[in-house]
Amino acid sequence: MIVERSASIETPHSSNATRNACRLCAPLGAVWAYRGIANCVPLLHGGQGCATYIRRYLIGHFREPVDVAASNFSEQTAIHGGAERLATSLHNLAAQYNPSVIGVASTCLAETIGEDLPFLVRRTLGRWKGDGPPPATITASTPSYAGDHASGYRAAVRAIVEQLGGDRPGSDHRIGLFPPMVSPADLRSLAASVRAYHCEPITVPDPSEAFDGGAWADLETLTAGGTEVRDIAAIGSACGLVGFTNPAPEPAPQDLLHERYNTPSVTLPLPVGLTACDQWHSALETFSGTSMPRAIEAERARLLDAYRDGHKYVAGRRAALYGETELILPLARLLWEIGMVPAICATGGDAKGLRRELDSLAPAGAEQIQVLSESDFMDLDAGIDAYGVDMLIGHSRAYHLAQARHLPQVRIGFPVHDRMGAARIRMCDYAGTLELFERIANACIERAQDGNSVGYLTM
């Protein structure tokens, strides 16, 4: 008898408090996005602590300098409004950094006292007293009482395309990409794939250099790289726009631009895993009119070959995934693809969209999985006790859960504070998937080997 059932069960957050939070605040995501615009310096309209805590988190992860300014509210500002401090901040930032763009994001404090950020910024630019012309600005509303770092990132990316986006006549060989908060190495992989089809990528935003730069010969006050404002201003004329599955209710940047400029656009799963990568490369073929280059065919073949070589080590292994929806979703898809079980998917945000996507992805007959909604790390702790997993896959902040149970943890996502190389962790495209697959397989092998005195010369 076939019983109709959902592929996942949702466990709601079990407490009146959040205990060891599994999400960060919205302004962090905005800062991440703004650092991906060329010569852009982020400014938070709020307290000094907001900027410093966010800097601390990003610097610890990327091991790169990350300058974030704050308008630095005082008691007076909280009472009388922050117009003056915001104006001073914009002038002081322009004087120190000479930026092309200042990316402004609000905080819970500014939003709660009712600051009209777009108006205040416009007014400051209209009465500009700086030496040169005022820089371009972007404003995004990112109060930390709503959403999380991922929604803050999305809000800032939307603000970037809405406020800086434009087009020019005709179509060209550029492809616009709107990736979620992935590593600089993944951003480089995605861009390289576009180039392999003889197109020029415009990644919005592109913090791959800002968050993974080299040693300096001289001081760089604003680090190199990032999406050029002029490229965003012409993005409407790209030959294609690629966004990635994002189950949030707000419109995605590729949809906004498609609506405005009729630019061909597609929304794909993030290319993690063979089938998702196939979809990504099919889209690149369509937009570029070029078929898949041989070198990429070879990468694809190597990935499938590795899957076959390694399938038994991972077969049936159960993993806990945690973090933002944009990370959990591609990872769950990958695990199902290689015969593993994403037994627990824990997000600190609302899981409605995540569940919908997971239910549609789950292979027929798959074991029912647990989705933890609005969860924290104590919920995940209880979930692991209740359902059992063989490993954790996600960022560093669950290390104590893995450590206490002597479980392997494959570190990926944000933040990875306790290892080198967070900026170079890959999952995207065939080659990135291969790297991640081998890390997962090796975690399984290492665990078996650690508990066994027999030699592992052959396996």
Binding site: R23, T88, W216, L219
Partner: protein, 449 residues
């Protein structure tokens, strides 16, 4: 000086030379400056953080709690409630209707779940502007559960990090004096302002044990609520990190007549001076003799290795930027004992007197800075002539990008740097970075290193 490092007009008087005019300080950070300071909440949170058997609940949105969950390397010899990050995680609904109900429910649940000896409730920016009566909720919870539930009024905008220290001291002051001191031995001390990073407090305690000086409470490293309640039984408060704890020491002097001394355990000179000062203040000749013996033994133990390192480090130059001023002063002295010269010294929270003392202590041309911006720091370091930067993790990549060695002397570090052994660890850590061959590799191909 201001020309080549482009200091903002508002900040000109916060930067100077040791032989120059007074450094302006204690101000709100300049709008639009990227400074190393955090906020009032941060100041209070770091001070109270190491109290190990209390719940620390952030009444605010999730970020403030997430960024301060399990962040300090403060060790505990008992419970580890301090390493958990609790929050009421305020949302839009609470912004509109208030967060008191949520706070009450969170308190009831978390207290039942964790059975803490007390709880600290941090009011952040958001709680501050939506007008929750946190005091009333705490008072009622305290009565219901029979433990101290202490509000910490720390909206981020209500001052600077220094204000946060004061707020933390106010919270502690409500505990001090509420416990029974009948079993406290005579001539006992409180250790204030050590946070037991990497077990440093235990090192310091071992010195006082050798001296035969009893310790009632340690505030706040490895602290227990009930020990803090009995802290007023002490004969002397020994205050390190005076920026954060002086307010409590003064309060205890005023209310209970307990004198205090300011000390530091960074470096030989300061550690020895601290132990002698305690013995002297307690008029305990026995303790003094034991302290002298201890200092002799400890110094003898590490001196040969330190001499070797000094030979290798002598003449190197250092820029240092700390949270509190007292640490900056100690570091200048400790570095001098290694033959190293401080070319820039600054801190986040120094006061007028601190900077005057720093100016007196440093070489005439040493740059002295209050609340340095990242922009200024980058320019200073890029001018050359700095072999080592001592600061926090936020500043580390800037040093490395510019090819400068780095030593972490902030609250996240994993090595104990206090006391006599700590001085050796410090010298070794400095040497491990300064002497690395990676600095000699050419930045561009073909260039000679």
């Amino acid at each position: 000086m201001s020309k080549d490092i482009a200091i903002l007009a508002e900040r000109q008087d916060q930067v100077g030379r040791a032989d120059g005019s007074a450094i302006s300080c204690g101000r709100h950070s300049t709008a639009g400056a990227v400074t190393q300071r955090a906020c009032v909440f941060c100041g209070s949170r770091v001070v109270l953080y190491p109290i190990t058997d209390a719940l620390h609940i952030v009444h605010g949105p999730v970020g403030c709690a997430a960024y301060t969950w399990d962040i300090r390397g403060s060790l505990s010899s008992g419970r580890e409630l301090h390493r958990l990050g609790f929050s009421t995680d305020l949302r839009e609904r609470e912004v509109v209707f208030g967060g008191e109900k949520k706070l009450r429910a969170a308190l009831d649940e978390l207290i039942a779940e964790h059975k803490p000896a007390g709880a600290f409730i941090y009011s952040t920016c958001l709680a501050g502007v939506i007008g929750d009566d946190v005091d009333a909720v705490c008072k009622a919870a305290s009565t219901r559960h029979g433990i101290p539930v202490i509000p910490v009024q720390a909206p981020g905008f209500a001052g600077t990090k220094i204000t946060g220290y004061r707020v933390a001291c106010d919270a502690l002051a409500t505990l001090v004096g509420t416990g029974d001191t009948s079993t406290v031995p005579a001539g006992a001390i409180n250790i204030l302002g050590d946070f037991n990073l990497a077990g440093e407090l235990w090192t310091i305690k071992s010195y006082y044990q050798v001296m035969g000086v009893p310790i009632i409470s340690t505030i706040t490293g490895d602290a227990r609520i009930n020990d803090i309640r009995r802290a007023h039984g002490a004969a002397l408060n020994v205050v390190q990190c005076s920026g954060s704890m002086i307010h409590l020491a003064r309060d205890m002097e005023r209310r209970f007549g307990i004198p205090y001394i300011q000390v530091s355990y960074v470096g030989f000179e300061d550690t020895a001076a601290a132990l002698y000062a305690v013995a002297e203040k307690l008029v305990n000749t026995d303790a003094m003799q034991r302290a002298q013996e201890l200092v002799r033994n400890e110094v003898a133990k590490v001196t040969p290795e330190l001499r070797r390192l000094k030979k290798l480090l002598a003449g190197r130059t250092v820029a240092l930027y700390t949270g509190g001023a007292f640490k900056a002063l100690s570091l200048v002295r400790a570095l001098r004992s290694l033959g190293m010269r401080t070319v820039l010294a600054g801190c986040q929270t120094g006061g007028d007197q601190d900077y005057q003392e720093l100016q007196r202590l440093c070489d005439p041309d040493t740059v002295i800075v209050d609340d340095i911006t990242t922009h200024e720091l980058g320019r200073f370091l890029a001018r050359g002539g700095v072999d080592l930067f001592i600061g926090g993790v936020k500043e580390r990549p800037l040093a490395y990008k510019l090819g400068i060695a780095f030593c972490d002397h902030n609250h996240e570090r994993k090595h104990g740097l206090a006391g006599f052994d700590g001085m050796l660890t410090f010298a070794e850590e400095v040497f491990s970075s300064v002497s690395s061959p990676v600095w000699k590799l050419p930045v561009t191909r073909g260039e000679m290193g």
